[in-house]
Every structure is written in C-alpha cells, then in structure tokens.
C-alpha cells in the first residue's frame, strides 16, 4: 500500500515554498538581517511572518531604536499580508521599503501546515541554507575570505589530528566519511550590525563604524549527507584580532536567535573562540555520529 499516494494520509508530504525577507537597516553594505519569511502552502495560499522577535529587539537595542525597528517591521508585514490576502503570490510581492528585499524562493516539504511554517522559519533564520546574496557583493567579499581562511585552519587541524580525514578535510565541501555515512561542513558568515544596534550613533559612531567593518559572525553547520540533516552548529563569537563590541549589538541578536533555534530543534550548538576549539567539536560530533 502506498501511503504517500493517499492524500488523506498523515504521512503525505505537503509541498510549499518560502522566501526570506531581508532588511539592511543601514544601507547597502551587505549587512542584512533576516526579518521574516513569506510562506506559500500547497494550495497556493501565502502569508508573511516576522522572525525577528520583538522581545529580542527590545532587549538588545535601545528603546527608541527597537520601537522604530518594530514599527518598520509591523508596517512591512501588515502590507505583505494585505497584498497576499488580496491574491498576491510570493513572486509578485514587492517590499514596501527600499532597504528591504525578498530572497530566492525555495521549495519546502513538511507533514503538516504547522511544520511547513516552522521549517521555513528555521531554514531562513537558523541554518542559513537560504543563499546569501550579500556574498556576491563587493563589500562582503573580504568577510567571505576571512571565513574561508578560518575554515582552512579548522580543516588543517582536523587533518593533523586524524590523517584519515586528510584527503577530504582539506578540500572545500568534501564530505568526511564517518562510519556508514559522512558529514559535511557548511559555513556562512553573517556580518555584524553594530551600527544598527549600538547606542546613540553620534556618541558611539566612531567605534561603531570600525566594528561594523571589522566584525562578523561565523557560523558553521555540520550536516550528515544521508538523510540530509543538520546535526550540529558552531558559532564563532571571537573573530580573530578584532575588537569585541559588547553585547548590545545585532551579532548578539543573531547569536541568541541561533542558540534558541538550536535548543528548539535539539541540535548541539557550540560557541568557539579559536580554530582548534572548532576542530575539536567537529571531531567529537563526527565520532558521536559514527557510533
């Protein structure tokens, strides 16, 4: 009996699509937040939902700036939903503000409407599988290079510790054989938004401008190949040689969101401050995965 062929079966996979909504609060510098997601269910019905939690904004931005950000997002998502309720499709949707954009539409499957929404949100906000268009921009190239350089260090350490991985570990996106399966590392960078979140700009401007250029949040997802799923997450919170901005910035906001999501999905998450730490965590995950 083919359960998947039965439309009434709870095992039937629902198909839909989603697209992230980006906001560049301070201009075209490739410094973007994922502020929401637009989801289309299998009946073609769409809705938009913000993913940046109001309480996080209020907690980590000063009040005036967080109120302002919340108001901007409320207006945008109200506009999105009115347009979608009037029969609009994701591909036709336009953002109300010049610094907002809608990312690429990706297909998604789930076993229920709720799961469809949750998966779309997770894919946008946590695991970063949504293509980061900012990486193609000149302003972001240096940050991409820094992240690659870091990953190269991590791979070299893994190869030294475990010669079995030497061949694959030194090459980008090669799977690491682990028991009957293999793991793959995906890395992303999320540039800092220090100016977005820092306290009043006139007083903090000089520092914020430096930090904004310098800092980024590196995020590594560890994924098993079959079935394709993320099994662990690393967050680099100490970019080498760069000053820390304290905790009232958007890097912190992204970090908290990431940790919250990892907890919700029961995925091990580790924050590291050096390549050896990251390499050790990856090794541990690989060993756990192979047993």
């Amino acid at each position: 009996m083919d359960f998947l062929a039965n439309a009434a079966s709870p095992l039937r996979l629902l198909t839909g699509a989603f697209a992230p909504v980006f906001w560049e609060p301070l201009g075209r510098r490739g410094e973007r937040l994922v502020v929401g997601v637009i989801i289309e269910n299998e009946h073609g019905i769409c809705h938009a939902t913000p993913t940046l939690q109001h309480q996080h904004l209020l907690q980590y931005l000063n009040k005036e700036r967080s109120d302002s950000a919340v108001g901007v997002m409320e207006f945008a998502f109200d506009h999105f939903n009115k347009t979608l309720q009037a029969g609009g499709r994701i591909e036709d949707l336009k953002t109300p503000f010049a610094k907002m954009s809608i990312g690429r539409i990706e297909p998604i499957t789930a076993r229920s409407e709720i799961e469809l929404t949750e998966r779309a949100i997770h894919l946008c906000t946590l695991l970063g599988r949504t293509p980061d268009e900012a990486e193609t921009k000149d302003a972001a190239k240096q940050s991409t290079a820094r992240t690659r350089e870091f990953m190269k260090d991590v791979r070299q350490i893994i190869a030294q510790i475990n010669p079995q991985f030497a061949q694959s570990a030194l090459k980008t996106n090669r799977p690491y054989p682990v028991g009957g399966s293999s793991i793959k590392l995906h890395f992303h960078h999320k540039q800092n938004f220090a100016q977005f979140c820092s306290l009043p700009l006139p007083t903090a401007r000089a520092d914020a401008a430096t930090e904004c250029k310098a800092r980024l949040l590196e995020l590594i997802t560890i994924r098993v190949q079959e079935p394709s799923a993320n099994i662990a997450l690393l967050i680099n919170t100490a970019t080498r040689g760069m000053p820390h901005t304290g905790r009232t910035n958007t890097t912190e906001l992204i970090r908290l969101q990431t940790l919250d999501m990892a907890t919700a999905l029961n995925i091990p998450a580790k924050e590291y401050a050096s390549a050896p730490e990251a390499a050790k965590f990856i090794q541990d995950i690989a060993e756990t995965s192979s047993t």
Binding site: P25, G27, R28, N62, E64, R65, D67, S68, A69, V70, G71, V72, F75, D78, H79, K82, T83, A86, G88, K94, T95, P96, F97, A98, K99, M100, P200, L201, P202, T203, R205
Partner: protein
C-alpha cells in the same frame, strides 16, 4: 528641531565618504545620496540624505519649506547644506558644480539619530500607496497638519515616495516642487494668493476621513503662527557663514519665508476651498478662486 535650533543657521556640511547613492547608479549619474556628513563649524557627524537640485533657486525653496514645516509642527527632518566636490561625488552632473569647485546639495538629517528613516520602494505600486496613505491618515491630526502645510507651500508633489517612515511617524520630505511661481520671480512683486492644483494629503485625508479630517482646524492653527514665520524670516536674513553661497541661499530663504507669512491669513480659506472644490488634474497651477484679504 527645538526653537533655539530652528532660529540658528542650518548646518553647512561635507560628506564623509563612502556614501550610498540612492538614485541613478545604473546610469552613472546620481541625484541623491545617503550617509554621514560632517558640519564645517563644529559637532559630530550626522546621518543625512542629501540631493542635487536641478535649479539653484530650489535650494532656498527646500530650505524655506522645511523650516516653515517645522514651525508649523510637522514632522520634517532638519535641513542642512552639503558641499561636495566632483572627486567626492563623481556621479554628480557637471552642471552641479559651482565656480568654487564644489556643488551645493540640500540635506535632510536623520530623525533624532536613533530611529530608522525608511525610504519607500520607488517602484509604482497601488497597494503600497494605499497602505501608506491608510497609515498616514490614521492620525488625523498629523495628516491634517500636513494638508495645511502643503496648501501653504502650494505643493502639488506630495506622493507617498516623498515621505519617510521612522516606525511610528511619517516624515515629509522633498519640497523642491513647492512654491513654483516663486522660482525666478521677483518675490516682492509676486501675488501671494497662488494655489497648486493638487493637494494630495488633503484629498487622501478627505477620502479616508470625510467626517473627522480636522483640516480647517489645522489650517486655522497654522495661520496663528504667522508671527513665528515672520520672525524666522527676519532672523534668516541675518544668518552668516564663511561660505558666501550659503549666505545667498539664506537670503533667498528669508524672502520665501516672508512670502509664506503673507499667504498664511488665506490658509483656512484655501483649505476650505480645497475640500469643497473639484480638483483639476489638468493644470498644475491655477489662479486662486478667492481674492486675497485686504
């Protein structure tokens, strides 16, 4: 903007590079930028949107309209002048440059420095226009003040892209099409009773809040501030600066403020006429249907 700030000369600044081009990047020409500017006198850098205006007389029109808007209690960013060289803004049209080697642009400073100052998407979108006008008119008092202002400024060009959003309030920007009869005119001889054929805020507010739009009250209250506009005109005439072009602009600003003060006694009549009259879409300018007061 505080009263003290309002009666001080607007800042004259230079851009701190890099700045973001807001328009026309694909054509290699640009008329508006966003970024930080540094006041020449003193003070910290300020975030600013600044633009090149095709006619030098429009700098004074922008300045006068923005200052008047602030006096009348509207949400309008504080104005400044931005001096930029061709090296700093290579996308500037050749015609923008003054003999001294720099161009003078009109700047609108960010609101308070902390709030976001969002520009609407430029693509034409009727649904978005509807969302913006619904939101703008949800506060009848603010919208009515805006309608009275545009009537005073004879500003026909208040489409939704000439507003910016800070998360709560809409800020009125771009007044370079206002006071058009005053451009190249001898202001001392110009009759003050001209009206624009459109007042988009008035028509949107009238359409959405026909029974509680508050526009006559807003016009009456605005007209009561005639003395403040006159005082500002007198003060602006005495503003000085090391950059002589800035002083010229402020002299013109003063004359325009004087013209606005002469229009103020007619404001309530103009608004009443506007609400009751059919709006012409064919002509941008008409003679006033009502005679000026003695």
């Amino acid at each position: 903007m505080s009263t003290e700030t309002l009666f001080s000369p607007p800042q004259v600044c230079i851009p701190l590079l890099p700045v973001d081009a807001l328009t026309g990047q694909e054509k290699g020409l640009c008329t508006a930028w966003e970024g930080e500017v540094l006041p020449l006198n003193e003070g910290d850098p300020i975030k600013c949107v600044f633009k090149h205006l095709s006619h030098p007389g429009k700098l004074a029109i922008e300045m006068a309209c923005t200052l008047a808007a602030t006096v009348l209690g509207n949400n309008t960013p504080a104005p400044c002048l931005v001096l930029a060289s061709k090296e700093q803004l290579p996308e500037l049209p050749e015609s923008a440059h003054q003999p001294g080697g720099f161009a003078i642009l009109f700047g609108s400073t960010y609101v308070g420095g902390n709030s976001f100052f969002e520009q609407l998407s430029q693509a034409s979108d009727a649904t978005l226009d509807n969302s913006v006008w619904n939101h703008f008119c949800s506060n009848a008092n603010t919208a009515a003040k805006g309608a009275a202002l545009d009537e005073l400024l004879a500003n026909w060009d208040r489409h939704s892209r000439n507003m910016r959003f800070d998360g709560t309030n809409w800020w009125l920007i771009d007044h370079d099409q206002a006071l058009a009869p005053a451009l190249n005119a001898d202001l001392s001889k110009l009759k003050a009773d001209f009206v624009a054929s459109h007042n988009l805020i008035a028509s949107q507010l009238n359409e959405r809040r026909r029974n509680d739009h508050q526009m006559p009250d807003a016009a009456r209250l605005a007209a009561q501030r005639q003395n403040q506009i006159q005082a500002l005109a007198a003060v602006a005439a005495k503003w000085t600066h090391a950059v002589p072009q800035a002083v010229d602009i402020w002299q013109q600003t003063s004359s325009l403020l004087e013209l606005l003060s002469r229009r103020m006694p007619m404001l309530q009549l103009m608004i009443n006429e506007r609400i009751g009259a059919n709006q012409s879409n064919n002509l941008k300018w008409t003679s006033s249907p009502t005679p000026p007061p003695p």
